[in-house]
Subunit: 324 residues, 2 copies
């Protein structure tokens, strides 16, 4: 039995050895740069883990798994331009290190390269995989557009927010699992369950991100705790708080949101206090737990030898319990 | 026999009826906008004309032909951001009418949609078509990067310039013809000839663009005649002139290039005069003629009933003689 550690190691080596093109250097150097910044690589890992449910030849899923990771990094490169983000994984973003034009064009090539890696699969699966990938990719863009639209809206509902993160984050996790299943030889009922599992867990995953930003352990959390609060980012927690806060608490929350100058630590502590008062933490934890439970339920319903499922389920539990 | 007029009409109707997506509107409205701006549609027309060489079922090539046109318009949307172009076909560019973020993200979705239209072909051709399209698409990006690199260089050689326009413009014309051939059922020798024909004629086509900008009839040329001269754009004509101009003429050319304030008409007339002195017009016309001749030779070498070739050859002759 191949361990998750093995899969990840093979994946890392493959990513390091992947060539995206050489000339002109201005176009390809940023691709090597963003791919080398690291990250948890858990999308392609999900593809390999899903393939491993059905076959020992999980290496057939390696190139397509990398397609998923390249696509993900393409979205990061373009999103960072749109969000004017200065840093990605602690290093300058591509548009900061080079410029926006380079980030636009290198990103475009990454999207094209993702298709190059994706087509390295059996002929009979190609059309279906492409249709599913195209739909997923367009939905990820839709999610990013909604996220940008929400920046200037203060009436975003919980449902709208959940749909936005479903599109922006979860559908790609769903596709990552589905893709592994298809390559492994799963039937259409199974690939549907795999997609649903990823889609559901992806929402849980993003909500956990929102939660960790407020309640994460600064020693363990990679980013600055409270960053979302400082930036008034419309996370699940803020949207819930805006809905629930009334009277004095509501006024206090609005004051912090409208404050143009403030002490960052003070704002984080105050807004966190409001969340505590309103029971937002427990509510969010419950949502996260529900979405992961739904995802795990999908995985458990797969007609696969429980022994083969162990690695994937273990990995999912790590995602549930992650503190960074 | 279907006429080119028929093909174009069917193509226009199909483009008008094509849906790219609906929601969020901010993402899809710019796609409808740029696709409705028009243009000569000659890339998808080449695909249909090439398919018609081999089959009466050219309608099978309609969706893939639209993929080529959508891809082309995606490159225009992103190039216009990079080039800070205010107008496209006389109308505000997408990043001007909306904003850069919208143009980035809508462009991304267009590239994804191009793949959606492209896969609407026979299973056995899919993998090959995708590989060829991916290569072409990446090369178009390489061409755009080289074009940007050239902006700050004054030592661009003729060969470097020809390679840049080959990548930025011609490879897509080559692919457009090749794609039609593949769908029509042409063998690999024929599809190679079709690609070479498009690649060669594409270079001729771009050189003609460079020429018309200087010597075009203002009544017929769509854009402002002399625009490239005013902007010091490194066209084939300027690169040749920079290589050939010596002594007093060289000094005069350099003075016009370095002038920060000048009368536009005066600069255009003066630089055109320098080109005349150096015989640049005749030289460029010869190059254009050579590249088109090479392209037409490829088409003539195709083992296809001459009667079937008429429409394509007629269309190519229109391209040779175009004045806009």
């Amino acid at each position: 039995m191949t361990t998750t550690e093995n899969l990840l190691q093979t994946l890392q080596t493959e990513i390091e050895q992947t060539s995206y093109g050489e000339s002109p250097a201005e176009l390809y150097e940023p691709i090597r740069y963003i791919m080398a910044l690291g990250g948890k690589r858990f999308r392609p890992l999900l593809t390999l883990l899903a393939a491993s449910l059905y076959t020992d030849d999980w290496k057939n899923a390696l190139k397509p798994a990398i397609a998923v990771e390249v696509f993900h990094n393409f979205t990061l490169m373009h999103d960072d331009i749109m969000d004017k983000a200065p840093l990605r994984r602690g290093k300058p973003t591509v548009h900061e290190k080079w410029n926006s034009n380079t980030a636009i064009l290198s990103g475009d090539v990454m999207l094209i390269r993702a298709y190059d890696f994706l087509i390295d699969i059996k002929k009979e699966d190609l059309r279906n995989v492409l249709l599913r990938f195209n739909q997923t990719a367009a939905e990820v863009c839709e999610g990013q557009q909604l996220d940008m639209n929400f920046e200037t809206r203060w009436d975003v509902t919980e449902d709208e927010y959940l749909n936005m993160i479903r599109l922006k984050t979860s559908v790609l996790l769903g596709f990552a699992l589905e893709l592994g299943g298809i390559i492994g030889g799963a039937d259409s009922e199974a690939t549907k369950l795999l997609y649903e599992a990823g889609e559901s867990m992806g929402i849980g995953f993003q909500l956990k991100d929102d939660l960790l930003d407020v309640y994460g352990d600064p020693e363990k959390f990679g980013k600055l705790v409270g960053g979302d609060i400082i930036a008034n980012k419309k996370t699940f927690l803020l949207i819930e708080a805006l809905t629930k806060a009334e009277g004095k608490t509501g006024q206090e929350l609005n004051d912090w949101i409208s404050a143009e100058t403030f002490d960052k630590e003070e704002k984080v502590a105050a807004v966190r206090g409001i969340y505590d008062t309103l029971g937002i933490r427990a509510l969010t934890e419950q949502k996260i737990s529900d979405y992961f439970a739904k995802g795990i339920d999908c995985l458990e319903r797969l007609s696969v030898d429980p022994e083969r499922k162990k690695s994937l389920l273990q990995f999912v539990h790590q995602l549930v319990e992650r503190e960074q």
